[in-house]
Assembly symmetry: C2
Homo-oligomer: 629 residues x 2
């Protein structure tokens, strides 16, 4: 038995002491990723993305705004959008998480410098927002609907919590506590309703409570949630102010805002066990997962307002903002922590591979804001955006990804993401177990786990059986075992000896995925998936047919093939389908003739992972392929 503390190093959502959490975190700093798929991505995030985004914060003036607020640049105008502070905070959060994984001096120094700027820009009352710091002082807190002041402090606070957990330093945490204290004084719980047009602070406050133990922050989070429906945001449904949160029954409004709000409610439930709020979150999750989630885990179908559509509104040209997929992960992860239900884990995995990763170019320095499921070749990634929310959101998620690989519970150890790594995990009894995980995901369904408890010890190991998995074979050592399955996990309970090995082999059938028949855009069309990945067809791979003309019979066998030199190394899928013989001059609208099937010819079809699309020459792309006839 070790004498080490049971606290994880740099947990992402720290339910270590949350009374209503079933699962507890394993920290970013406890998990060293060495995975053929993920390690290059995490390295690129640290080596390319995070430095490039610091540079963007510099060139756009977002950092200069803090110098200006600190009085370092007299006469300087404000630069960018009124929420541009949040770009820098998200960068600081990404940099903080990366320090939990790697002792990178350059990042640490750059971050320390940025934190000094935050400190210098904050005023004596704790107020901090560079848009209002110099010449709009009288306008502070006059427009909660639009101006994102609390939102920005939310991102500051998330960065501060990450920095504190990753480094142990209170430097940024102090800034955040002063800023939150300013808000608490201005919008006092039980007294002055206060909530922001863009949620974020609510979630951050619960984490601040977890990081500091100060119940003021939990109270303030609850108050902000309960301020919804009081008209602070003009009763706007788009801003989730149309009803008390406790009375909200359907997923609506701006997708990122909605999911940040619901995630905060889930956070509060983890701390308070509030049954009413818990039922609301369950109800909203049911609406989200049954009616409003794309096959990629992308959410928020509408381009107008970056908003959720109606039930079953899942068009090809979905908006599916990268940030919304990240918010989807935030919500699902919190529900997973509460319940240990693998359906939430599956949602995290799907959104990660297919909702978030497409947002990032192969180079790591260009980004998608929207992630449509079909395109004609004009939607391409950009290095930055005027509204630059997505790029640093991806960076902070990837930097914190090691914190999503495992959880623990009273029963033992849970693998949550199949990502190759070496970890040292503290079990709830305080004992420590070394874990070596190697796997072939997302390309092959092979998982090997080697456990090294300090001494023989009985506990359970939970291994996810994702919805995409085919047959699963489990061996402990050489012995094939048939473990219990519980809510999407194989549960191996035994007395583990140091060096015990578990081997799990999934088959990964290629699936043609149809959609609920109420989804108009899904009618007689399928998406192709294998393992956790959704695939797409790109024109690049189809010299002989327009991708718009490709058709499937629905009974195809797809042949996986690893292409080491393609798109950073991917498994491509191949089948023989059909291509319509299209007469381009035919009228756009014409009487339907049942007796005349469209003429087709055989066509070789190649599918590539959707996350990798738009990394070659521009051209049409489709996730869904129509079924004949």
């Amino acid at each position: 038995m070790t004498t080490e503390t049971s606290s994880p190093h740099a947990p992402v959502v720290d339910t270590t002491r949350s009374p209503y959490a079933r699962l507890r975190p394993v920290g970013v700093g406890d998990v060293e990723v060495h995975d053929a798929f993920w390690q290059p991505r995490l390295d690129r995030n640290r080596e390319q993305t995070i430095p490039a985004q610091h540079e963007q914060c510099e060139t756009t003036g977002a950092l200069t705004n803090f110098r200006r607020a600190a009085g370092h640049t007299p006469g300087e105008p404000f630069h960018g959008m009124y929420y541009s502070d949040s770009d820098v905070y998200k960068w600081a959060e990404a940099a903080s998480w990366s320090l939990a994984s790697t002792d990178d001096r350059a990042v640490a120094e750059r971050l320390a410098e940025v934190i000094r700027l935050f400190e210098a820009a904050q005023d004596g009352e704790g107020y901090l927002n560079t848009y209002f710091s110099v010449d709009r002082v009288a306008e502070r807190w006059t427009d909660l609907v639009v101006r994102h002041e609390m939102y920005c402090i939310g991102h500051l606070t998330q960065a501060a919590v990450a920095h504190f957990r990753a480094t142990g330093s209170r430097a940024l945490l102090d800034v955040a506590e002063r800023a939150c204290g300013h808000i608490e004084a201005r919008f006092a719980p039980g007294d002055v309703p206060g909530t922001c047009g863009h949620p974020c602070l609510e979630m951050a406050l619960v984490e601040l409570y977890r990081a500091t133990g100060d119940e003021r922050w939990l109270r303030l989070a609850v108050w902000q949630l309960d301020s919804r429906g009081m008209g602070v945001l003009n009763g706007s449904e788009y801003l989730l102010d149309h009803a008390r949160l406790r009375d909200q029954s359907f997923v609506t409004g701006h997708a990122v805002r909605a999911l940040y709000l619901y995630a905060a409610a889930a956070d509060v439930v983890l701390e308070t066990g509030d049954e009413e709020l818990s039922a609301v979150v369950d109800r909203l999750w049911a609406d989200l997962s049954r009616h409003k989630t794309a096959v990629t885990g992308g959410v928020g179908a509408r381009w107008d307002g970056e908003a959720f559509g109606d039930a079953y509104e899942l068009p090809d040209r979905a908006y599916n903002e990268t940030c919304a997929a990240i918010a989807h992960i935030f919500l699902a992860w919190r529900l997973l922590l509460r319940t240990g239900d693998g359906a939430y884990r599956d949602a995290v995995e799907t959104a990660l591979y297919n909702g978030v990763l497409p947002g990032l170019s192969q180079s790591g320095t260009e980004f998608f804001y929207q992630n449509p499921l079909a395109d004609e070749g004009r939607h391409r990634r950009s290095p930055w955006f005027t509204c630059a929310c997505c790029p640093p959101n991806i960076a902070r998620l990837l930097a914190s990804l090691p914190g999503y690989v495992y959880t623990t519970s009273d029963e033992g150890l849970w693998v949550q993401l199949y990502v190759g790594n070496s970890a040292r995990v503290r079990l709830p009894d305080g004992s420590s177990v070394g874990v070596e995980l190697s796997c072939g995901l997302p390309w092959e369904g092979t998982v090997q786990l080697r456990l090294t408890p300090v001494e023989a010890r009985e506990f359970s190991v939970f291994l996810p059986v994702p919805a995409w998995a085919g047959e699963a074979t489990v061996r402990v050592g050489e012995e094939v075992v048939t473990p219990e399955r519980r809510s999407g996990y194989l549960v191996l309970t035994r007395t583990w000896q140091p060096g015990d090995e578990v081997r799990l082999d999934f088959t990964m059938p290629v699936r043609q995925i149809g959609t609920h028949p109420r989804v108009a855009a899904g009618h007689r069309r399928v998406a192709v998936t294998r393992g956790p990945l959704v695939y797409c067809v790109e024109q690049s791979d189809h010299a002989d047919a327009a991708v718009a003309d490709l058709r499937l019979a629905g009974e195809e066998t797809w042949r996986p093939e690893f292409a080491a030199d393609l798109l950073g190394g991917v498994v491509t899928l191949h089948t023989t389908g059909s291509a319509l013989k299209v007469d381009e001059d035919e009228p756009l609208h014409r009487p339907y003739v049942p007796a005349e099937p469209l003429p087709t010819r055989p066509a070789e079809i190649t599918a590539v992972p959707y996350y990798a699309w738009a990394n070659r020459e521009a051209g049409p792309m489709r996730v869904f392929l129509p079924l004949l006839p």
Copy 2:
């Protein structure tokens, strides 16, 4: 032979003297509509819509802006959007056209008062835009990209031309000529490139040239077109500045702006015969009609930017702005005037019934801005909009509608819209012919035409055979004849005696219309049409099944039935189709199983005209129904 002038009274697009027009107009004032379908709509437009819109111009401050600019209301702030002048101009145009049909004293007085306001608001240099009149004088013409100054003058000019043609008064024409003269001086042809972020003035200038005979206005129109691609609008593709207009090859950008621009190019071609420009317009029309037009004639699929999508991008939740359907009519009408090709006429008719009419409530006082092809019941009409372009655009089109019923050509008389009316038409030889047209459209395919030339006279009568028509039987008197068909028209050439009657009977089969196979959203779905009308299913008529669950086999027979008390009197269509037995709890995404057809049950399906949707209790609506399996 009469001695009357051959000029039509209040022609809409006056190609009377256009050298490159095949067709010439019959004026609004020459056609007295008495049609079971249209007369109540035109009456309601005059009696309800136009007065209500004047009231809206008053309550929104759009009229007060003119008083303010005239110096009548010192201290008054500007109200509304920077283009709100155009609301009043469009109202004035609608009122003007209505005076060509009806001698309405109240409208005439109100209009005279508004015109006096315009005069008073115009400054000594001819400048007129109330946003810039009082306190933004220095900002005039500093932002052609955004500020719509030329656009507003375009609407002023269109109103002025309408007023001049309807009343013979030059009062408003003088204001418009001064305003256009100001623009001509500021953006001199051949010297200073000038063109507006929102086209409108170009089309108006050609009409001003036609109304006044002053070639300055034609030259200025051409110059504005040729200023495209010079970077005046930052080279923006969205604003049609990405290339010289003469080099533009695909329909793109903001739908209304694009179509107003293309319509102006078509106008210039009618006057100059410019072959290069003519080829451009033909190319753009081909792209529009083959790739980018909804079955309703709605255009501009995208909610983001009110813009055209890519080729074949025709989603259910299309934007299809009411103004864009009107712009579609403007373009198609000009191409019809040039060619006499019935395909353009069909486009006018389709867009009128199914792209524009849905924009108007049964009451005539509520409006749709967007016209999606499916909805869950949350899209409802409004009395007005912050951006109020659509309501007065509908009003001016309806007020001018009698001007779209006939044209003439060297060959004789062309019916263009089957609308019951009494008309007196001047043939190109200067002789006059009385025309009585009665018809059962859009409900029944019966047309009766009685011609009363002053004396026996040989000429051709062109009767459209729309694409929707089934068998056509033509009688002259009692005799069944088999006239030549030419480009979508039956051509009856003979010596007409006073009192000769033509009777035309179409069958109007109900059609299930499919879409080009490259339209992803059209896959295995059909829209139901009869005659010129596109139909839809509304939840109101389906107590036993969700409209989302309705399915067709594709071989249904539909039974038309006139329902006098429904939606102002409509032919409904009935069939027995299928309803899916839907398990709402089924997962949203799941493997497709070819061998398992979805369970269905028979279902009675009722379709109503799409133009009439959302006039009952809110609920789901679909234009396209999926085909089994």
